[in-house]
């Protein structure tokens, strides 16, 4: 698969299929994702890189939901101001979510787009899944998309990812 940057990817590649990394609830209701390597990505990306990405994301979420001195302080301060303080201040969680967005964008640019993959920020999927879109290079003739074709998304034609219907 030729190297593509994100823009080119959307224009010249067509969406072949999507993989959804589910939540890992073994530690409780904390936001964590499974690090199990999906078979569909087998031929597209090294296992090591994928696991690295998910582990880093999990660490970010742990940081966001950390219960400790500073989170209590924030909670108590907010309570004392009857939560009006949130009109001008960003919560710790929101700050970490911004960091996560940046990280995902960076990962997409450096690692995933060159391999024809695209990670969607879990925040856009209600924190339920990490959606990884697998693109098929339109120019390459008849190259098989990796993994099970039964999850091919509807349509999939036309150089832009139609994530909707």
């Amino acid at each position: 698969f030729q190297g593509h940057n994100l823009q080119e990817l959307r224009r010249s590649a067509s969406l072949a299929t999507k993989v959804f990394i589910q939540r890992d609830y073994s530690e409780g209701t904390m936001c964590q994702f499974q690090t199990k390597f999906p078979p569909e990505l087998d031929s597209r990306i090294e296992r090591q890189l994928f696991e690295e990405t998910v582990k880093n994301l999990n660490n970010y979420y742990v940081e966001a939901e950390k219960i400790g001195g500073s989170s209590y302080l924030e909670g108590c301060l907010a309570c004392a101001t009857a939560y009006f303080i949130f009109l001008c201040m960003e919560t710790h969680y929101e700050k970490v979510l911004k960091k996560i967005s940046k990280y995902i964008q960076e990962q997409n640019e450096k690692i995933y787009a060159p391999r024809g993959l695209l990670i969607t920020d879990p925040v856009e999927r209600g924190m339920r899944v990490i959606e990884i879109s697998i693109y098929e290079d339109r120019c390459s003739s008849g190259s098989s998309s990796s993994g099970s074709s039964s999850t091919t998304s509807s349509g999939g034609g036309g150089g832009v990812a139609n994530r909707g219907r």
């Binding site: 209701t29 989170s71 909707g164």
Partner: protein, 364 residues
Amino acid sequence: MSVMMVRKKVMRKWEKLPGKNSFCCDGRIMMARQKGIFYLTLILILGTCSLFFAFECRYLAAHLSPAIPVFAVVLFLFALATLLRTSFSDPGVIPRALPDEAAFIEMEIEAANGNVPQGQRPPPRIKNVQINNQIVKLKYCYTCKIFRPPRASHCSICDNCVERFDHHCPWVGNCVGKRNYRYFYLFILSLSLLTIYIFTFNIVYISLNSVKVGFLNTLKETPGTVLEVFICFFTLWSVVGLTGFHTFLVSMNQTTNEDIKGSWTGKNRIQNPYSHGNFVKNCCEVLCGPVQPSVLDRRGIVQDQNGLAPLENSTPPPGAVTTSPLISRELPKEPVTPQDVRPEALEMSTSAPKKSEGSRGKEK
């Protein structure tokens, strides 16, 4: 093709969200559809407090201390702020699965179930997860097309899955879930204190004034007192009781929903895997822990099919397709099980009306 700048009003995602919520202020405020009882709550709080400030406070400030009305105002504003915050914010709604995701999960389920012989009902869709050495079952939600996270439940009144679902409260006109539970708790706590405060000082006022001018004359001077005492008396029993109950729940890190279903009690049941075992730790986590921002993105702008913002298109396509989680409402609903019906039926039917107030709502 020239670009005609069709100045169409920007459509925001809240307009396309499924579920039975109602939105105000262009998506900033989110509530349930039935708001009647919420207005009653506001009227009662506002009415009773106005009477208190108008009548008794003048006497008490003059004869006892000016600190009394000041403290009442602080309590009143705090109760109001927490009420509005509870009512207007997103309780922790889980957006529905997009078609791709739903199909992926269906495929996984079918793979797990194997071949079901003709005529037999397929096994219930349940996933087992181990949390803290306990096995917790995750149920599949047919409406939202997801496996519900632990402690989440589907509210049939609002038609949404809500994280850490506690109950649907008609008095605040919204579900109580992960994101607004602490505001709800602080609301009933401050309302209890406010009720006790007003009740006490009404009694004090009546006693003091009766000594001078007699009981009946006191009531004639300030007829509102009778109404206040009446409302406070009934509110006391219900709200204080409710506060006590929720204090118990908070200390055990349980939800009303779990308590009603008896998830963690009884023989052969697993113990609550979410409790830290420590009263203080549980309280701190529930009341002072970090709050996840809303994942609903109510005020995001709806993009049309081509993924471009509406103004870039010359003519907006009819019925713009959104990228927000959308499942057609015609899809069959999940079979309602008794367990799902009960929490919603428990509409906190504690009798006494409450005091309420109606000032400007806040965001979120």
